[in-house]
């Protein structure tokens, strides 16, 4: 389906719930509100005949930006659908029940960013082993910062003493 037609039909169907931006000949971005997220994915995949490619998360200060990519192969362009899952408990409805191929990528976004996909048929971590710490989400920025802080805090003498087992600086052994 042609790009202009797709943009028109999305705007007609979802009105003020979406913002459509075309950045180049081959890239269309649709910013969607949370409550129409599943309907929009369903509309693109089942009514407009887009292919489902994959998804991606991106951690931000106030939430997690979640995006899914729908290529229109014959017309050589991508529609990227974006939404924002707010912290402290980011959650979205799962699109796996309308697009089976989204099952694993939602599991991945869950385990990397702690986005809870509601009504997902099997929301287990997909990439990392069962022995991972339950509350560690590698792509969450506060996780990285906390890790960095702990490392910095223990640098220098305190870290040296911890490793070597020596008495803290200033005390005479």
């Amino acid at each position: 389906m042609e790009r202009e037609e797709v943009k028109k039909r999305i705007a007609e169907r979802f009105g003020g719930k979406v913002q459509i931006e075309q950045r180049s000949e081959r890239r269309v971005f649709v910013y969607a509100e949370n409550d129409i997220w599943v309907d929009l994915a369903d509309f693109l995949f089942n009514e407009l005949d887009a292919r489902f490619d994959t998804g991606c998360g991106l951690d931000d200060r106030d939430g997690v930006e979640v995006m899914f990519f729908f290529p229109f192969d014959k017309e050589h362009y991508y529609v990227t659908v974006k939404t924002f899952a707010r912290k402290p408990y980011p959650q979205l409805d799962s699109i796996s029940n309308v697009i089976t191929g989204a099952k694993w990528i939602e599991r991945e976004i869950f385990e990397m960013f702690e986005v809870n996909f509601k009504n997902h048929p099997d929301l287990r971590p997909v990439l990392r082993s069962d022995t991972r710490p339950a509350d560690f989400y590698p792509h969450k920025r506060e996780g990285k910062d906390a890790h960095e802080m702990s490392r910095v805090k223990l640098d220098g003498w305190e870290r040296f003493n911890e490793v070597k087992g020596k008495a803290p600086k200033g005390e005479n052994p």
């Binding site: 292919r51 994959t54 991606c56 290529p71 694993w104 990392r128």
Partner: protein, 401 residues
């Protein structure tokens, strides 16, 4: 009575661990649970600590077999962000390296599939025919794998003009060998009996699961990122997307064999164009790229196993703020939860291998009777033997007719 057969996660001849738990009723597979993640290396996160120019070296290590496709998709993503188009010379060199990769990857799969069903001659042939391809890759890029050819704005080195006759000679010889191999596979009644109608994944299921590459095209799902997203020089070259209809293991093999011919056609055309251009200068190879501005870009390239997807986000710094990588096996392995159902255990290994996953089964296969709790262990060799015995049984019955 349902039993569980775990396959995986480790296997010495394949490069990535995966775990398939088959639930079987007698010989028939009735359910499957797939687990991946034993070799999660955090490459996306690592990438966020590398400069834009270092990342291609990192992502070509995502997979040893797809070590051209990942950096290709990555540089396309950054070029999408920058909205630049690289020189024609760079486009041809990119296509040559990527298609050589496709040749050696498809030959590798055909060889392994041959081994799996007890055709060790096919295994030996394929690996022998693959060697000259790797030699040419070494002559052109300096390495048999990990080619370090792709960079944002072009390529790192030219194809030496003196190598062009060698490339042509290798392609001519490989065409004949691939022709012989294809005819041998297409005409063999045992291979027909062993692979036709096995592991069927039709058009509708391909679309539902987002199958990619030969796995999708075998089932008539017409996707190929090189054509669909007009990757570089591919839009102007003469080549076809190979498409079959049945979606079984046989068609998956046919798609790969016929794609070898298309890859040879593409390389020949690119080599002709490079020869006509003569030796190039540094400016012909790569654009001068300055700062990467804030923005986002996505790049897709059709790897041997299917479409590789890279997404990058820049905040204006010298490293990606976010880099998402999706390899085709991520989509294709999931299709096994449908395609393996209702087939025999002896076929399950072949079906799961038919998507050409970065897949590893195990050194040992434990078989558990869930009712009695009885356990017994089969080696990796036993599992392959089970598959090979089925081929031998079919061969004998065909001889008897």
């Amino acid at each position: 009575m349902v039993k569980k057969i775990p396959i995986g996660p480790f296997h010495p001849i394949l490069e990535e661990p995966e775990f398939f738990e088959l639930h079987v009723d007698g010989e028939k597979v009735v359910d499957i649970d797939i687990t991946i993640g034993w070799s999660h290396r955090g490459i996306e996160l690592l990438s966020e600590s590398k400069t834009w120019d270092q990342v291609p070296f990192l992502v070509e290590r995502v997979c040893g077999i797809c070590s051209a496709s990942h950096p290709y998709a990555y540089v396309l993503a950054v070029e999408d962000l920058l909205q630049v188009e690289v020189s024609k010379r760079a486009q041809y060199i990119r296509a040559i390296v990527a298609e050589l990769e496709r040749l050696h990857s498809h030959l590798l799969w055909t060889g392994l599939a041959g081994h799996f069903i007890g055709y060790n001659t096919v295994f030996m042939w394929c690996w022998k025919y693959r060697e000259p391809v790797l030699d040419i890759l070494e002559a052109v890029t300096g390495n048999r794998n990990h080619y370090a050819t792709y960079r944002v704005g072009g390529v790192r080195r030219d194809v030496p003009q003196e190598e062009i006759p060698n490339i042509r000679k290798m392609l001519d010889e490989l065409w004949k060998k691939n022709d012989m191999l294809t005819n041998a596979i297409l005409d063999d009644p045992v291979i027909h009996a062993r692979t036709k109608g096995v592991g069927v994944l039709g058009w509708d299921k391909c679309r539902e699961y987002g199958a990619l590459g030969p796995t999708a095209r075998a089932g008539g799902y017409d996707v190929d990122a090189r054509r669909d997203h007009q990757t570089d020089a591919y839009a102007e070259l003469d080549w076809d997307v190979v498409l079959c209809q049945n979606g079984d293991v046989f068609d998956k093999a046919v798609v790969r064999q016929l794609e070898n011919f298309e890859a040879i056609k593409i390389i020949r055309q690119c080599v002709d164009k490079l020869e006509a251009m003569g030796p190039g200068t540094e400016e012909d190879l790569v654009l001068e790229i300055g700062e990467i501005p804030p923005g986002e870009g996505l790049g897709v390239y059709e790897a041997p196993r299917g479409e590789v997807f890279h997404y990058v986000r820049s905040n204006g710094g010298n490293m990606p703020m976010r880099h998402k990588i999706r390899a085709p096996s991520f989509n294709n392995i999931l299709t096994n939860e449908y395609s393996v159902l209702n087939y025999a255990v002896a076929d399950a290994g072949l079906i799961t291998a038919a998507v050409d996953p970065c897949y590893s089964c195990t050194e040992r296969v434990g078989r558990v009777d869930t009712r009695t709790g009885e356990r017994w262990v089969m080696s990796e060799g036993d599992l392959i033997k089970l598959s090979q015995e089925k081929t031998e049984m079919i061969r004998r019955s065909l001889r008897g007719k």
